[in-house]
């Protein structure tokens, strides 16, 4: 897969310190919807830039809510949240789109726009970012080919299988080469072979500097991906008995391959 190395070039130019810095910082973060009980409580952790994390926990533990905080669909109701080194808990609303463009999201329910073709769905982040149609055309064709959907570019989501829709959603999330990729059960609807291909894609992105956070119940998936770290949630709280997530050890700088 062709990859513009802009991000990596920047990372390398800045030097190793950046590779050791935090991409995500949660300080005593809590989240509640409306006047209900807190669904997330006292979350204290840091995710290193360039890390690969699996988010696990039983259903209802708060994984999706945590992901919403990560892709800025929710703001914490208490505590401090920093992304990309910026305090975003109470950042001006107008500043959020710029940060969201640096985040790729694979939604559990795909959230493809049903009246757009697979091509247009994948192209959406690039068009929103104002890329030229020439660049969009090349990048999207390449990405669709990579996820095995080159011949379904003009298909509407309703005519795609669940697995195909998921691949379109993943292609849309990674097309703009995000600094942070957040995925909610991204391999839930694909076969084992495609799941491995998608993980390879994530790993390739990760090697290029993208921080990856994948929520999953699939322990086999975690086991098959060495070098990753696990964030475990139970009842809205972080399970971190060693404190490794709150005070992570220094990480080596990611290597370009």
């Amino acid at each position: 897969m062709a990859r513009r190395l802009t991000l990596c070039d920047k990372l390398l130019a800045i030097g190793g310190d950046l590779a050791l810095s935090s991409m995500v910082e949660f300080d005593s973060v809590g989240l509640r919807y409306g006047t209900g009980a807190e669904v997330l409580r006292d979350l204290d952790f840091r995710l290193g830039r360039g890390g690969f994390y699996f988010l696990t926990g039983p259903s209802g533990a708060g994984k999706t809510s945590l992901l919403k905080l990560l892709y800025l669909a929710q703001r914490p109701t208490r505590g401090r949240l920093r992304l990309f080194g910026e305090e975003l808990s109470d950042a001006p609303r107008d500043s959020l789109p710029g940060f969201r463009r640096r985040i790729g999201v694979v939604f559990q329910d795909f959230r493809l726009i049903r009246h757009l073709s697979a091509f247009d769905n994948v192209a959406l982040p690039l068009r929103i970012a104002g890329r030229s149609e020439t660049e969009v055309e090349g990048s999207v064709r390449e990405m669709l080919a990579w996820v095995g959907l080159a011949d379904r570019a003009s298909a509407r989501p309703a005519t795609l299988s669940g697995g195909e829709q998921q691949r379109v959603a993943i292609a849309r999330a990674v097309i703009s080469q995000p600094e942070l990729l957040v995925a909610d059960e991204p391999t839930g609807n694909v076969d084992a072979e495609m799941a491995q291909r998608l993980l390879h894609l994530f790993a390739a992105l990760n090697r290029l500097g993208t921080t990856i956070v994948v929520a999953t119940h699939d322990l086999g998936l975690i086991a098959s991906t060495p070098g990753t770290e696990i964030i475990r949630l139970e009842h809205g709280s972080l399970v971190d008995p060693t404190g490794a997530l709150k005070n992570p050890p220094a990480r080596p700088r990611p290597e370009l391959t």
Binding site: R75, D94, L96, G98, R100, V105, L124, P125, I128, R172
Partner: protein, 290 residues
């Protein structure tokens, strides 16, 4: 470019499919039609009031109770008064003819006494009190009446109708704005999933708003042009004297060039109003999200 959003590329147009499927163009067409007809009536009334006021501004009547017996003396007194530009006696036959229109044949009967009447035009510098005094001396009991006093209640009513027409135009504009706000909210609800995805991947409120603004602007364009064309046809028919109403609207007080320009601008104003209101409504609604 100021109207760049109106010429969105095909991929942006595909994001919000379904132009002209909602009621918005029809609502705007009806509102534009109503607004133009009401505005035309208001302008015609304004012109009529202006013409009447101008015609009676310096005109007075002298009513001579003694009838034709005292008329020569009164006419002489008026004509020789300083500041009187012209004075004419209204023939008795003409007055009886007028009375017949109200009273029937009895109005023309010799048994019905009618006063003699003199109409006169005076200069702005005329001393009205002196003229009235001269007339009174010539024929005691004579009434000296300013036409604008007689017609003041009528002119007041006409001017009230003018303001009523203006108020109706404003109300129609407000109703159109409300309809556009409802349409914009409806469109936002219909496309909520699309908006959430666009916001989620970094679209700004302005980027999202442009899509809706363009869609509603096109609806307003279709409605405004259709309603404007329909109103123009109706007004043209009325102006051509096709009905009794034509006389009221455009016959007795024809619309001038500036009036026609104002009427022609109304559909354009409706389109701009709808587009502006849609933009404000969509932006306000989007700002409710995080």
């Amino acid at each position: 470019m100021m109207f760049e959003w109106l010429f969105a590329p095909p991929h942006d147009r595909r994001l919000l499919p379904g132009n002209y499927r909602g009621p918005t163009p029809f609502v705007i067409a009806i509102m534009t039609f109503s607004m133009m007809v009401v505005a035309a009536a208001g302008l015609a009334l304004s012109n009529a009031a202006g013409l009447v006021a101008k015609g009676i501004d310096s005109r007075y009547s002298v009513q001579v109770p003694g009838g034709s017996r005292d008329l020569p003396a009164v006419l002489e007194a008026v004509r020789t008064a300083p500041g009187v530009l012209s004075a004419e006696a209204v023939p008795e036959a003409e007055m009886r003819k007028t009375l017949e229109q109200w009273l029937g044949p009895a109005g023309g009967s010799e048994d019905l006494p009618v006063p003699a009447l003199v109409t006169l035009d005076v200069a702005d510098s005329a001393n009205l009190a002196a003229i009235a005094s001269r007339v009174e001396k010539a024929a005691p009991g004579t009434r000296f009446v300013a036409h604008d006093e007689t017609l003041a209640p009528l002119l007041k009513s006409v001017r009230a109708l003018q303001w009523l027409a203006l108020a109706l135009v404003a109300l129609l504009a407000a109703a159109t704005s409300a309809a556009v706000v409802l349409a914009a909210r409806g469109a936002l609800d219909t496309h909520r999933a699309t908006i959430e995805v666009m916001h989620g991947i970094g679209a700004t409120d302005v980027q999202v708003t442009r899509l809706f603004q363009r869609k509603i602007a096109l609806d307003a364009l279709a409605g405004g042009l259709f309603g404007g064309a329909a109103a123009a046809i109706v007004l043209a028919v009325l102006a051509a004297g096709g009905s009794a109403l034509a006389g009221d609207l455009t016959g007795a007080a024809p619309l001038g060039g500036s009036d026609l320009l104002i009427l022609a601008m109304l559909p354009l104003l409706m389109i701009l109003l709808a587009t502006g209101v849609a933009r404000a409504a969509v932006l306000a609604a989007l700002r409710q999200s995080i």
